[in-house]
Amino acid sequence: MWLVRRQLDTRFERLDPDDDPDRDDRLIRELYQEFGGPLLRQVRQSTGNDLQWAEDVVQETLLRAWRNAAKLTWERGLLWAWLLTVSRRIVIDGRRRRGVRPREVEPPEADTVAVPDATDKTLAAIVVADALRGLSPDHREVIEQTYLRDRTVSEAAEILGIPPGTVKSRLYYALRALRGVLKERGVAS
Protein backbone atom coordinates (compact mmCIF):
# COMPACT_ATOMS: atom_id res chain seq x y z
CA MET A 1 0.00 0.00 0.00
CA TRP A 2 1.28 3.42 -0.94
CA LEU A 3 1.57 5.54 2.17
CA VAL A 4 2.57 9.13 1.67
CA ARG A 5 3.61 9.46 5.26
CA ARG A 6 5.98 6.57 5.01
CA GLN A 7 7.54 7.98 1.91
CA LEU A 8 7.95 11.41 3.46
CA ASP A 9 9.30 9.93 6.67
CA THR A 10 11.86 7.93 4.78
CA ARG A 11 13.07 11.13 3.26
CA PHE A 12 13.25 12.79 6.64
CA GLU A 13 15.42 10.00 7.90
CA ARG A 14 17.72 10.25 4.99
CA LEU A 15 18.09 13.97 4.99
CA ASP A 16 19.14 16.20 7.80
CA PRO A 17 16.89 19.26 7.40
CA ASP A 18 19.70 21.65 8.28
CA ASP A 19 21.85 20.20 5.57
CA ASP A 20 19.27 20.39 2.88
CA PRO A 21 17.46 23.65 2.29
CA ASP A 22 15.97 22.20 -0.90
CA ARG A 23 14.16 19.44 0.93
CA ASP A 24 10.77 21.18 0.92
CA ASP A 25 11.10 21.96 -2.76
CA ARG A 26 11.85 18.38 -3.49
CA LEU A 27 8.87 17.03 -1.56
CA ILE A 28 6.52 19.46 -3.22
CA ARG A 29 7.97 18.50 -6.57
CA GLU A 30 7.24 14.89 -5.74
CA LEU A 31 3.63 15.69 -4.94
CA TYR A 32 3.48 17.54 -8.26
CA GLN A 33 4.79 14.57 -10.18
CA GLU A 34 2.33 12.21 -8.58
CA PHE A 35 -0.82 14.34 -8.50
CA GLY A 36 -0.19 17.59 -10.40
CA GLY A 37 -1.47 16.47 -13.79
CA PRO A 38 -4.65 14.70 -12.73
CA LEU A 39 -5.45 17.45 -10.24
CA LEU A 40 -5.00 20.16 -12.86
CA ARG A 41 -7.45 18.35 -15.16
CA GLN A 42 -10.04 18.20 -12.39
CA VAL A 43 -9.53 21.79 -11.28
CA ARG A 44 -9.71 23.21 -14.80
CA GLN A 45 -13.26 21.97 -15.03
CA SER A 46 -14.25 24.07 -12.03
CA THR A 47 -12.36 27.18 -13.11
CA GLY A 48 -14.18 27.26 -16.43
CA ASN A 49 -10.96 26.26 -18.20
CA ASP A 50 -9.05 29.21 -16.76
CA LEU A 51 -5.62 27.59 -16.89
CA GLN A 52 -3.72 30.24 -14.94
CA TRP A 53 -6.23 30.13 -12.10
CA ALA A 54 -6.29 26.33 -12.17
CA GLU A 55 -2.50 26.20 -11.90
CA ASP A 56 -2.59 28.56 -8.91
CA VAL A 57 -5.21 26.36 -7.26
CA VAL A 58 -3.18 23.21 -7.85
CA GLN A 59 -0.09 24.88 -6.40
CA GLU A 60 -1.95 26.06 -3.30
CA THR A 61 -3.53 22.62 -2.83
CA LEU A 62 -0.22 20.81 -3.01
CA LEU A 63 1.35 23.34 -0.65
CA ARG A 64 -1.39 22.66 1.85
CA ALA A 65 -0.84 18.94 1.41
CA TRP A 66 2.81 19.48 2.16
CA ARG A 67 2.00 21.55 5.25
CA ASN A 68 -0.30 18.78 6.46
CA ALA A 69 2.05 16.01 5.43
CA ALA A 70 2.43 14.73 8.98
CA LYS A 71 -1.34 14.16 9.18
CA LEU A 72 -1.74 12.64 5.75
CA THR A 73 -1.18 9.04 6.65
CA TRP A 74 -3.75 7.76 4.21
CA GLU A 75 -3.34 5.56 1.26
CA ARG A 76 -3.17 7.10 -2.16
CA GLY A 77 -6.90 7.06 -2.93
CA LEU A 78 -7.72 8.92 0.25
CA LEU A 79 -5.01 11.47 -0.33
CA TRP A 80 -6.50 12.03 -3.78
CA ALA A 81 -9.93 12.59 -2.23
CA TRP A 82 -8.35 15.02 0.19
CA LEU A 83 -6.63 16.93 -2.63
CA LEU A 84 -9.92 17.18 -4.54
CA THR A 85 -11.71 18.42 -1.45
CA VAL A 86 -9.13 21.04 -0.68
CA SER A 87 -8.83 22.20 -4.29
CA ARG A 88 -12.59 22.63 -4.57
CA ARG A 89 -12.60 24.76 -1.44
CA ILE A 90 -9.84 26.93 -2.87
CA VAL A 91 -11.77 27.45 -6.12
CA ILE A 92 -14.96 28.33 -4.25
CA ASP A 93 -13.15 30.70 -1.88
CA GLY A 94 -11.32 32.28 -4.80
CA ARG A 95 -14.60 32.96 -6.57
CA ARG A 96 -16.01 34.65 -3.51
CA ARG A 97 -12.91 36.78 -3.13
CA ARG A 98 -13.00 37.88 -6.72
CA GLY A 99 -16.73 38.39 -6.61
CA VAL A 100 -16.95 36.32 -9.75
CA ARG A 101 -20.29 34.82 -10.50
CA PRO A 102 -19.36 31.52 -12.04
CA ARG A 103 -21.37 30.39 -14.98
CA GLU A 104 -22.33 27.16 -13.27
CA VAL A 105 -23.99 29.04 -10.43
CA GLU A 106 -26.97 29.08 -12.73
CA PRO A 107 -27.21 25.64 -14.20
CA PRO A 108 -30.46 24.58 -15.80
CA GLU A 109 -33.43 23.79 -13.61
CA ALA A 110 -34.03 20.36 -12.17
CA ASP A 111 -35.95 18.78 -15.02
CA THR A 112 -33.57 20.02 -17.68
CA VAL A 113 -30.38 19.46 -15.79
CA ALA A 114 -27.40 18.62 -17.91
CA VAL A 115 -29.03 17.85 -21.17
CA PRO A 116 -25.85 18.11 -23.14
CA ASP A 117 -25.55 20.09 -26.32
CA ALA A 118 -25.87 17.78 -29.26
CA THR A 119 -22.44 18.79 -30.52
CA ASP A 120 -20.81 18.26 -27.16
CA LYS A 121 -22.30 14.99 -26.16
CA THR A 122 -20.05 12.51 -24.56
CA LEU A 123 -21.29 9.09 -23.66
CA ALA A 124 -20.51 9.62 -19.99
CA ALA A 125 -22.37 12.94 -19.90
CA ILE A 126 -25.44 11.36 -21.42
CA VAL A 127 -25.41 8.39 -19.09
CA VAL A 128 -24.79 10.51 -16.00
CA ALA A 129 -27.50 13.03 -16.92
CA ASP A 130 -29.91 10.18 -17.48
CA ALA A 131 -28.97 8.55 -14.18
CA LEU A 132 -29.57 11.86 -12.37
CA ARG A 133 -32.99 12.18 -13.92
CA GLY A 134 -33.78 8.68 -12.72
CA LEU A 135 -33.08 9.53 -9.07
CA SER A 136 -35.84 10.53 -6.68
CA PRO A 137 -36.50 14.30 -6.74
CA ASP A 138 -35.03 14.71 -3.25
CA HIS A 139 -31.86 12.95 -4.23
CA ARG A 140 -31.43 14.80 -7.50
CA GLU A 141 -32.13 18.12 -5.84
CA VAL A 142 -29.52 17.69 -3.15
CA ILE A 143 -26.79 16.81 -5.68
CA GLU A 144 -27.74 19.83 -7.76
CA GLN A 145 -27.86 22.22 -4.85
CA THR A 146 -24.45 21.19 -3.57
CA TYR A 147 -21.95 19.84 -6.05
CA LEU A 148 -23.44 21.03 -9.31
CA ARG A 149 -23.83 24.58 -8.00
CA ASP A 150 -20.60 24.68 -6.00
CA ARG A 151 -22.34 25.10 -2.69
CA THR A 152 -21.38 23.69 0.67
CA VAL A 153 -23.78 21.63 2.74
CA SER A 154 -24.79 24.56 4.96
CA GLU A 155 -25.33 26.87 1.98
CA ALA A 156 -27.55 24.28 0.34
CA ALA A 157 -29.37 23.65 3.63
CA GLU A 158 -30.26 27.32 3.85
CA ILE A 159 -31.54 27.43 0.30
CA LEU A 160 -33.54 24.23 0.69
CA GLY A 161 -34.82 25.18 4.14
CA ILE A 162 -33.77 21.90 5.74
CA PRO A 163 -31.17 21.12 8.42
CA PRO A 164 -27.56 20.53 7.27
CA GLY A 165 -27.72 17.02 8.76
CA THR A 166 -30.62 16.23 6.45
CA VAL A 167 -28.68 17.53 3.46
CA LYS A 168 -25.74 15.29 4.37
CA SER A 169 -27.90 12.20 4.83
CA ARG A 170 -29.81 12.83 1.60
CA LEU A 171 -26.57 13.38 -0.22
CA TYR A 172 -25.25 10.12 1.18
CA TYR A 173 -28.22 8.08 -0.05
CA ALA A 174 -28.26 10.06 -3.29
CA LEU A 175 -24.63 9.17 -4.05
CA ARG A 176 -25.24 5.53 -3.21
CA ALA A 177 -28.22 5.47 -5.53
CA LEU A 178 -26.33 7.32 -8.27
CA ARG A 179 -23.35 5.04 -8.01
CA GLY A 180 -25.63 1.99 -8.13
CA VAL A 181 -27.23 3.17 -11.36
CA LEU A 182 -23.91 4.14 -12.94
CA LYS A 183 -22.44 0.78 -12.00
CA GLU A 184 -25.37 -1.01 -13.55
CA ARG A 185 -24.78 0.92 -16.77
CA GLY A 186 -21.09 0.20 -16.72
CA VAL A 187 -19.98 3.82 -16.28
CA ALA A 188 -18.81 3.50 -12.67
CA SER A 189 -16.79 0.60 -11.35
Partner: protein, 66 residues
Protein backbone atom coordinates in the same frame (compact mmCIF):
# COMPACT_ATOMS: atom_id res chain seq x y z
CA UNK B 1 -18.56 -3.41 18.13
CA UNK B 2 -17.86 0.26 18.49
CA UNK B 3 -19.35 0.93 15.08
CA UNK B 4 -22.73 -0.31 16.35
CA UNK B 5 -22.72 2.30 19.07
CA UNK B 6 -22.21 5.40 16.94
CA UNK B 7 -25.23 6.72 15.06
CA UNK B 8 -25.69 5.80 11.43
CA UNK B 9 -25.78 9.50 10.51
CA UNK B 10 -22.17 9.97 11.63
CA UNK B 11 -21.12 8.01 8.54
CA UNK B 12 -23.12 10.19 6.17
CA UNK B 13 -20.58 13.01 5.96
CA UNK B 14 -18.55 10.81 3.65
CA UNK B 15 -20.73 11.76 0.68
CA UNK B 16 -20.34 15.51 1.20
CA UNK B 17 -16.65 14.97 1.82
CA UNK B 18 -16.21 12.95 -1.37
CA UNK B 19 -17.83 15.76 -3.36
CA UNK B 20 -15.82 18.45 -1.58
CA UNK B 21 -18.92 20.24 -0.30
CA UNK B 22 -18.52 19.53 3.38
CA UNK B 23 -18.32 22.81 5.30
CA UNK B 24 -14.75 23.75 6.26
CA UNK B 25 -15.47 23.53 9.99
CA UNK B 26 -16.63 19.92 9.59
CA UNK B 27 -13.71 18.70 7.53
CA UNK B 28 -11.25 18.07 10.32
CA UNK B 29 -13.83 16.22 12.41
CA UNK B 30 -14.68 13.98 9.52
CA UNK B 31 -11.04 13.34 8.69
CA UNK B 32 -10.55 12.17 12.28
CA UNK B 33 -13.57 9.89 11.92
CA UNK B 34 -12.10 8.60 8.67
CA UNK B 35 -8.95 7.47 10.39
CA UNK B 36 -10.87 5.05 12.61
CA UNK B 37 -13.80 4.13 10.37
CA UNK B 38 -13.09 1.50 7.76
CA UNK B 39 -16.61 1.68 6.39
CA UNK B 40 -16.19 5.36 5.50
CA UNK B 41 -12.77 4.77 3.96
CA UNK B 42 -14.25 2.10 1.72
CA UNK B 43 -17.17 4.32 0.76
CA UNK B 44 -14.91 7.29 0.11
CA UNK B 45 -13.00 5.16 -2.37
CA UNK B 46 -16.26 3.95 -3.92
CA UNK B 47 -17.54 7.51 -4.30
CA UNK B 48 -14.17 8.63 -5.63
CA UNK B 49 -15.09 8.62 -9.30
CA UNK B 50 -18.43 10.39 -8.88
CA UNK B 51 -17.05 13.96 -8.85
CA UNK B 52 -15.36 13.32 -12.19
CA UNK B 53 -18.50 11.76 -13.66
CA UNK B 54 -20.67 14.60 -12.39
CA UNK B 55 -18.22 17.05 -13.96
CA UNK B 56 -19.16 15.55 -17.33
CA UNK B 57 -22.67 16.76 -16.73
CA UNK B 58 -21.54 20.04 -15.30
CA UNK B 59 -19.19 20.95 -18.12
CA UNK B 60 -21.67 19.73 -20.72
CA UNK B 61 -24.34 22.03 -19.31
CA UNK B 62 -21.83 24.86 -19.06
CA UNK B 63 -20.87 24.56 -22.68
CA UNK B 64 -24.49 24.89 -23.68
CA UNK B 65 -24.58 28.32 -22.08
CA UNK B 66 -23.06 31.27 -23.89
Amino acid sequence: MLSDEIPESSHHDVAAYALGVLDPEDIQGFELHLVSCERCRIELNEFGELPGLLNEVKSASQRVRP
